[in-house]
């Protein structure tokens, strides 16, 4: 369930928020009489934004009028803006195909402008462009294609920072916060909210401020169990929404408040606020909000044990709207509850039908425990009441298959754990016995080192070449693209090569060596993947890069977040690629070192990566873990010698000296003098 999706609804509400009904009427009257021209477009735009919160149909019709008029008067910028607005309106109405279509149109229009670089409207064009990229991020987010959503929103934030386009930047920051929240990355989520809040405050944008309050409140209540505190944030937010007269915003906050009260077990208060949510959502004809409202009401009614008729009506309403807009994710609970009610009433046909509807949805949500109960209920109904032997048998079989696969999965996991432990022991013995083999392995270390140096060399060379070319001639841009293309392709080939090689290696030490090489290539590869080449110099956004590097390393060492967590303390920083590559490799070595040695035998803990500029202008890096520490990790001395010297060599390049800190765990600090920001 993603009730938080709703938060994004008020995308540019503050423009319209100041308006009173009287303004609506006078504007509507005025616009009819106005001659075709930029002023009329301006007023139509005002109107479409005014209605965005209360009447989507009207808003849409004004947007189409803008399209018409700007085509007639040849006003391409207004046309681009209108396309963008229509994209948003469709997105709010959950018409994703249409929304995607108009987003594309808007982007194409803005793109043509950007290339021409017309002076007067440049800021508007840049804001529109970044805004559209942000909207596409939302479009992905609404459809739960989260990896794409993250890429677009990060891009919008980058563009916003570069061009000073605060609005899309702040909007994307808050969405990113919600995505990180979905992924249980609470610290990053709060960081994003705080930067968004600062930006909204700078813009003097009450709607945004209130959204940030809500976000912080939600993390407090849903994840940190501080619902009292969250209520205070929600009330602040509600105050702002009231002042703005944004009913959609208020309805959303009502739902949040209801949720907080429900968590605090103040069911009466929760009920009151949920009812307010539903009433407003019905008035606004906001289907998404209505689904959330009804689903909450139905759940509360079940908890309170309300009369059957009332519960039935609520479930039916909830299911009706959810089916209408295709929000099926949480619906299996609704179907199943409805089945329960019908069963109690003795309407077994209907009960069986609803249980049957619930099953595939529960399976989609991977809720196998629920699924098991569901199949069992079906079995009982068919067997005892409908006397339908074949269906009873089918349900029983489904129940058993599901039951077996659940318990098999548990057994399988146990076997896997045992064999993993066995493998580890075997490997340790092998290492001890085969000093000879390790010496041979060194030759492979050397080989991989050569490959890496070659790759760094080729990469560096090509990029230097790249920059010279761009300065000379715009025509050669095509060629540059081609070169980048090849570098990226070659890095992919290198990565695949190492991966394939590792499939043919039996020797444990050699396999480790190749895997380490693979990690190094991936660390470099991620930089090239994220490289932004629009401007001179070639920039790497470090926050996003390091989050991905951390995830990649955890995955490579097969560690789960709940065993070892990576915590990031990162200043927003753009580094030149010449600095970013050695920096990425250094961090890769240090983090890999911690992951490999600090947490043996399932020990839990965390690794902290900190990157900041100190007052004297040096770039400081700290990688620290709270693991077993230097003394307790006997393998550390021999096996990491290559990794350690890699850190030394690369640090020298950036004029820094690695220092190992005293204290628990293992911590390294490096202060770099020679680095280049982009």
């Amino acid at each position: 369930m993603k009730p938080i999706l709703l938060l994004l609804l008020s995308i540019f509400t503050w423009v319209g928020a100041i308006a009173q009904p009287a303004t609506f009427d006078s504007l509507q009257a005025a616009v009819v009489r106005m001659p075709n021209g930029p002023e009329k477009i301006e007023v139509l735009n005002q109107l479409l934004k005014l209605y965005l919160n209360s009447d989507l149909d009207k808003s849409r019709s004004y947007a189409y009028q803008v399209v018409d008029l700007s085509k007639k008067t040849g006003n391409r910028l207004a046309l681009a803006t209108a396309y963008k607005d229509i994209g948003v309106i469709h997105l709010i109405s959950a018409a994703y195909d249409s929304a995607g279509y108009y987003n594309r149109l808007a982007l194409k229009e803005y793109n043509q402008f950007l290339k021409k670089n017309t002076g007067a409207d440049l800021a508007k064009i840049q804001e529109g462009y970044a805004g559209t990229v942000s909207n596409i991020g939302n479009w992905h987010y609404y459809q739960s294609t989260l990896d794409s959503a993250v890429i677009y929103h990060q891009r919008a934030v980058e563009l916003g920072r570069k061009w000073g386009a605060d609005k899309p930047k702040a909007n994307s920051l808050s969405t990113l916060a919600y995505i990180y929240l979905d992924q249980s990355k609470y610290e990053q989520a709060i960081e994003m909210h705080l930067e968004a809040l600062r930006t909204f405050e700078k813009m003097d944008n009450p709607d945004g401020i209130s959204r940030s309050y809500q976000g912080i409140g939600e993390i407090n209540c849903e994840y940190l169990n501080k619902c009292e505190q969250a209520l205070e944030y929600y009330r602040e937010s509600l105050k702002i929404k009231k002042e703005l007269g944004s009913e959609r915003g208020m309805a959303y906050v009502f739902r949040l408040i209801g949720g907080a009260y429900e968590k605090l077990s103040a069911i009466d208060s929760a009920l009151y606020y949920y009812e307010k949510t539903v009433a407003l959502a019905e008035k606004l004809n906001d289907k998404r909000l209505l689904v959330d409202g009804y689903s909450a009401l139905a759940a509360v009614a079940e908890t309170l044990g309300r009369p059957e008729e009332e519960r039935l009506a609520l479930h039916l309403k909830y299911i009706g709207v959810a089916e209408e807009i295709g929000r099926l994710d949480g619906l299996f609970v609704g179907y199943s509850s409805l089945g329960d009610i019908y069963q109690k009433r003795g309407d077994f046909e209907k009960a069986a039908a609803y249980y049957q509807k619930a099953a595939p949805l529960a399976e989609n949500q991977k809720n196998y425990g629920f699924l098991e109960r569901l199949y069992f209920k079906q079995y009982n109904i068919y067997k005892d009441h409908l006397l339908d032997e074949s269906n009873a048998l089918a349900a029983l079989e489904a129940y058993l298959v599901n039951h077996d696969s659940v318990s098999n999965a548990i057994k399988f996991q146990a076997v896997e754990d045992i064999s993993a432990r066995y493998e580890t022991e075997k490997k340790e013995m092998l290492i001890a016995e085969q000093q000879e083999a390790i010496r041979q392995g060194r030759i492979r270390f050397g080989l991989i080192a050569c490959m890496l140096v070659l790759a760094v060399g080729v990469g560096g060379l090509l990029f230097r070449l790249t920059r010279q070319l761009r300065q000379r001639n715009e025509e050669k841009e095509v060629l540059i693209k081609e070169i980048h293309h090849r570098v990226k392709n070659n890095l992919q080939v290198l990565s695949s090569l190492l991966h394939l090689q590792s499939r043919y290696i039996q020797d444990g030490a050699a396999l480790d060596a190749v895997r380490e090489g693979q990690n190094r290539v991936e660390a470099m590869g991620l930089i090239h993947q994220k490289l932004y080449m629009g401007d001179n110099p070639v920039a790497v956004e470090m926050q996003g890069y390091l989050y991905q590097l951390g995830d990649t390393l955890l995955d490579a060492f097969r560690l789960h977040d709940d065993q070892v967590e990576i915590v990031y303390h990162l200043e927003p920083l753009y580094l030149d690629v010449d600095t970013a590559i050695p920096m990425g490799l250094i961090i890769n070595e240090l983090v890999a070192n911690s992951l490999k040695y600090a947490f043996p035998h399932g020990r839990r803990g965390r690794v902290e990566i900190s990157l900041w500029k100190n007052p004297s202008g040096k770039l400081c890096l700290k990688v620290a873990d709270n693991g077993v520490g230097k003394a307790a990790a006997p393998d550390l001395k021999n096996s990491t010698s290559f990794g350690t010297s890699l850190v030394q060599i690369l640090s020298k390049k950036l004029k820094g000296t690695p220092q190992v800190l005293d204290g628990e765990g293992y911590a390294t600090v490096i202060e770099f003098v020679n680095f280049k920001e982009a």
């Binding site: 995607g100 794409s148 392709n489 990565s495 394939l500 991620l526 993947q529 490289l531």
Partner: protein, 126 residues
């Protein structure tokens, strides 16, 4: 939990990358057919209709990947994952990028590949 193995068509003209991804996918239990250009890809569809196709945007001396994607989607109802060495800026200039496909940028990590595959497979199963 039981995983439904899918039929995957991998059209990649870089042999090492193709082999690596093929082995990775087969290890996950899928049936993988490979091709190096659009022509052989379409012929391969005659033998095994794919649930999911992994494509590039460009192939040397061959039909462009976007057109191939349209054919695969309309005729075989396959869903599509693009992998590309192109950069952001290049992609943003081409409006077709914003059609409903997943895109994975080279060089990608194994983790990114698995994540992209997961969402592509979910869409393919719908």
């Amino acid at each position: 939990m039981p995983m439904v193995p899918l039929k995957i068509l991998l059209v990649e003209d870089e042999p090492l990358v193709a082999l690596d991804l093929k082995l990775e996918l087969e290890q996950a239990g899928h049936r993988v057919a490979t091709a190096t250009d659009a022509g052989t890809a379409l012929r391969a569809c005659g033998e095994q209709v794919p649930d999911l196709a992994i494509l590039n945007f460009r192939y040397a001396n061959s039909m462009d990947g976007m057109l191939l994607a349209e054919i695969l989607q309309s005729q075989y109802l396959a869903s599509v994952l693009f992998i590309t060495g192109a950069s952001w800026e290049y992609m943003e200039e081409s409006a077709y990028f914003y059609a409903d496909h997943s895109v994975l940028y080279k060089p990608f990590t194994k983790l990114q590949f698995r994540t992209a595959m997961k969402s592509a497979l979910e869409r393919a199963r719908k």
